[in-house]
Symmetry: C2
Subunit: 511 residues, 2 copies
């Protein structure tokens, strides 16, 4: 689908079937689009307009798919807003066809570079950074650990130049929760897995309070529960003793981590995540397909790429189902969709609760349109597996990691799955960042990059102006990924320390 794009400098028309186009720039009234089509009104950048008359009840088509039904007669050359569209029904999960459109990996484009410099681990993907990981098992201890974090950065880190930083993982889970609830395994798995993040090099310090529900044995193997790895604050004699004890553990770990060295590694040791947030209707035309092309290059080179966000693929799930390598993987995909459908229904909403006011200002009418743009970031590679939230991948290639679409929850979930880097596409702009791995930000429009010149790493906007192709920007993103993963470049969010909280997904009740 994203290969059949027909672009002009004024507007984006994605397939021959489309009866709406998206303005690539602010277009004044009267602008001539085709020989017989003039705009009847001004169309702001990223907004949709009709290419032909669309009668009430008829489908409105973009990306070659129905993104809604006209709620009124729409004449040619006018803006098509969210209010003129009725959301189409959710695609049925029963009629999905699996594995009928699997592109052989050999057909994917060859990457221009096939190695990077990472910190190899005994097992699993390599690290992109060398971090001292301090993980909390419960929110109660967050204040203490954050204070010690500053002390470590100030007093210890300068002595261990081989270590990039200290990374404290605090979260709201661990106690005051129904630890045996049906869905409690979801946040628990996230915490279990973040402890083993590849950037921590197999080392960690786990800090608990001592009376909480999430006990160390729920997070660690018996042989990992040692006095070098774990500390309960209730076992310390007061505040100063607690801080000192953590400092001592930290110094022991820093000595070990300081010996880690970057090595030239094959792409097969790289695991990255793709996410989009604050999207506009151009995200699905420029930034996301370019990221998808970068993903294809990575997968062809042997790397593993996760993409996520259940409510943002739900309306395009039929296209993902076709790309699943087997019936089994397809069923896993459908199961994740079903779980989320039920979860939302229990809260009295559906997947159209997803789009934000910013998405809508950015021209996205509804979740059906948003989903088509969102899945573009998955490129064209076969989907070799489907993960539950925060699960670790066991296969290599393109993987659908089912997570909430919320940037703030998807990021930590992919982080728990072990990504060494996240590529984040945005239309409206966000300072979002993670402390456990670098985040590269790609915007959909040059106007955004001009405005946030010191926050957005790469603009995909030249795809809209016709100056560059999707493949060119995609290759640029691919090269940026390797630069950042190899530690040769620091993305903006890390330069300023703009890091968001680890909002792990917890669908279970609190007590």
């Amino acid at each position: 689908m994203q290969n059949s794009k027909k672009l002009c400098s004024l507007a984006v028309i994605l397939t021959e079937r489309d009866n709406v186009a998206v303005a690539a720039a602010d277009l004044p009234a009267g602008t001539q689009i085709f020989e017989e089509l003039f705009l009847r009104e001004a169309i702001p950048q990223a907004q949709k307009f009709s290419l032909q008359e669309i009668r009430k009840g008829e489908p409105v088509i973009r990306y070659g798919v129905t993104i809604g039904y006209a709620t009124q007669d729409i004449c040619a050359g006018v803006q098509v807003t969210q209010f003129m569209l009725r959301v189409p029904p959710t695609p049925s999960l029963e009629s999905l066809r699996y594995a009928v459109n699997v592109r052989p990996t050999e057909e994917l484009p060859l990457p221009p570079v096939t190695t990077w410099e990472g910190y190899p681990n005994r097992e699993g993907p390599a690290g992109t950074r060398n971090l001292l990981g301090i993980i909390t098992s419960v929110q109660c201890v967050a204040g203490v650990v954050r204070r010690v974090e500053e002390r470590i950065r100030r007093d210890l880190l300068p002595k261990y130049p081989g270590v990039d930083d200290v990374c404290v993982i605090t979260h709201s889970y661990g106690c005051g929760v129904a630890i045996k609830a049906r869905e409690a395994y979801i946040p628990i798995r996230a915490i279990r897995n973040i402890i083993r993040h590849p950037n921590f090099g197999g080392e960690f310090i786990l800090i608990g309070l001592g009376c909480e529900k999430l006990t160390f044995d729920m997070l660690l193997e018996p042989e990992e529960i040692t006095s070098e790895n774990c500390l309960y604050l209730q076992d310390c004699e007061g505040h100063e003793a607690a801080e000192k004890a953590i400092m001592e553990l930290a110094e022991q770990k820093l000595r070990i981590l300081n010996k880690r060295k970057r090595q030239t590694l094959p792409l097969s040791q790289l695991l990255i995540g793709m996410q989009c947030g604050g999207s506009d209707s151009l995200s699905g035309v420029s930034a996301n397909p370019a990221a998808g092309y970068a993903s294809d290059l990575l997968v062809r080179g042997g790397a593993t790429v996760l993409f996520s966000e259940v409510t943002e693929v739900r309306d395009g799930v039929q296209f993902l189902a076709e790309r699943c390598v087997s019936e089994e993987v397809g069923h896993k995909l459908a199961e994740q969709m079903k779980w989320y459908d039920d979860y939302l229904e229990a809260g009295g909403v559906d997947r159209d609760a997803n789009p934000t006011p910013g998405n809508k200002k950015g021209g996205l009418a509804n979740i059906a349109e948003k989903a088509m743009g969102s899945i573009a970031k998955s490129g064209t590679a076969p989907i070799i597996d489907v993960l539950e939230p925060a699960e670790k991948p066991e296969k290599r290639g393109l993987i659908y990691a089912a997570t909430p679409a919320s940037d703030i929850v998807c990021g930590p979930s992919q982080a728990a799955s072990g990504i060494g880097l996240q590529v984040f596409m945005t239309g409206r702009g966000t300072p979002y960042g993670l402390n456990v791995c670098p985040v590269i930000k790609i915007c959909s429009r040059n106007e955004m990059k001009k405005r946030w010149f010191d926050m957005i790493d790469i603009s995909a906007g030249d795809i809209l102006t016709g100056k560059k192709t999707i493949e060119e920007v995609g290759t640029e993103i691919f090269r940026e990924i390797l630069e950042v993963a190899s530690g040769r470049k620091i993305p903006y969010s890390d330069q300023y320390g703009y890091h968001n909280d680890m909002c792990f997904f917890n669908p279970a009740p609190i007590t």
Copy 2:
């Protein structure tokens, strides 16, 4: 009930009906309790032992109520553990009797002091601190705002000595959520209300991103949405401009706040919260009843006191119902219990998901026993109103503010209700703290205070040793509340900056 305590230096027996007692210290096997009762085994401090033979199926009675049914024959003088008790059924909400045990306020003990020094506000309770409040409407901006917080503290605060600190409220809500879900009003109300916290003196800075679902108009009145109060980061031209813009807003607000002065105020302008966490079976004997006595003094003096934690009062709700001043207030109480029963049931658990391993190590067998200890902190005053989570009180006196029992969620909820100070009772110890108001920590045992001498503000343990009465320790707590509220004393958690995250309660789905 808590007036009929019979204490000896060895064990605590709360009413004549009780067939179990709690060890006030570690008691060796053979210890003589009464003329004819010797301990058959060693009983660790805070653990229960049987005062007489209890046959299988018979009620086990503590606080004069059935805390469970014996699952086996229990002979006299042995430890009674959680495994020997079957949890009693949840008290029915249909058969509650309202307003039948309302102690007239005039009968409450007279406070020894009736004024304090606070920052008066145009309306509502006075502030206990003078803080520059910077509130985020969405988690996306947290990284930026936290960095600016450090800059403000370093570069601006020294110029405004009348301002105590800058207080940044970040949270996981605001976007990636189902903003129109049935229960979305709960977190939204919390954020609305925390903006108006009495310690912010009617001033605030609200920082959003610009594309999120939780828009400023959902949090503010139209006349409050001004360029002095609000900023969307997407309206700034880049990172440096965004930080500079927040710094400028901060300086404007600091100039205003710097003029606030403490004044001698009546207790009626004081609003405080009571919470317990990491409880043990002595919490309900020493720390909580002493805090309850302090609450009685405050209420008698005209102050407002909130107590909370639905799952921790659920099994003692019949006693609270009797103390409600009217049928209407009683029905509000029952409604909150019902809501939470349903919420837990939807997640596949019940209120007995509440007790923690630490509670159990501390001798609490189940939620029925825990609840009886927990409600002791409400003292004996009439319950004049019931609030939903994070609602602001409109009446003065003792109020039940329904919140989750989780320390980490109850605290922010009470903070959103506007408390100027929280009194936190603990058996096992926690470094818990809030940045928006001071937290005084009271422990149940002297052993805890000895161990965490520099983290626990007051020990109620002398009640157990017989050195002090509940009234004496309660008066000590009352005086400490006024010292801290008046800014003459800084509790430990604030000395170290041990502050937990604002984990606002969100029972609605995320997207």
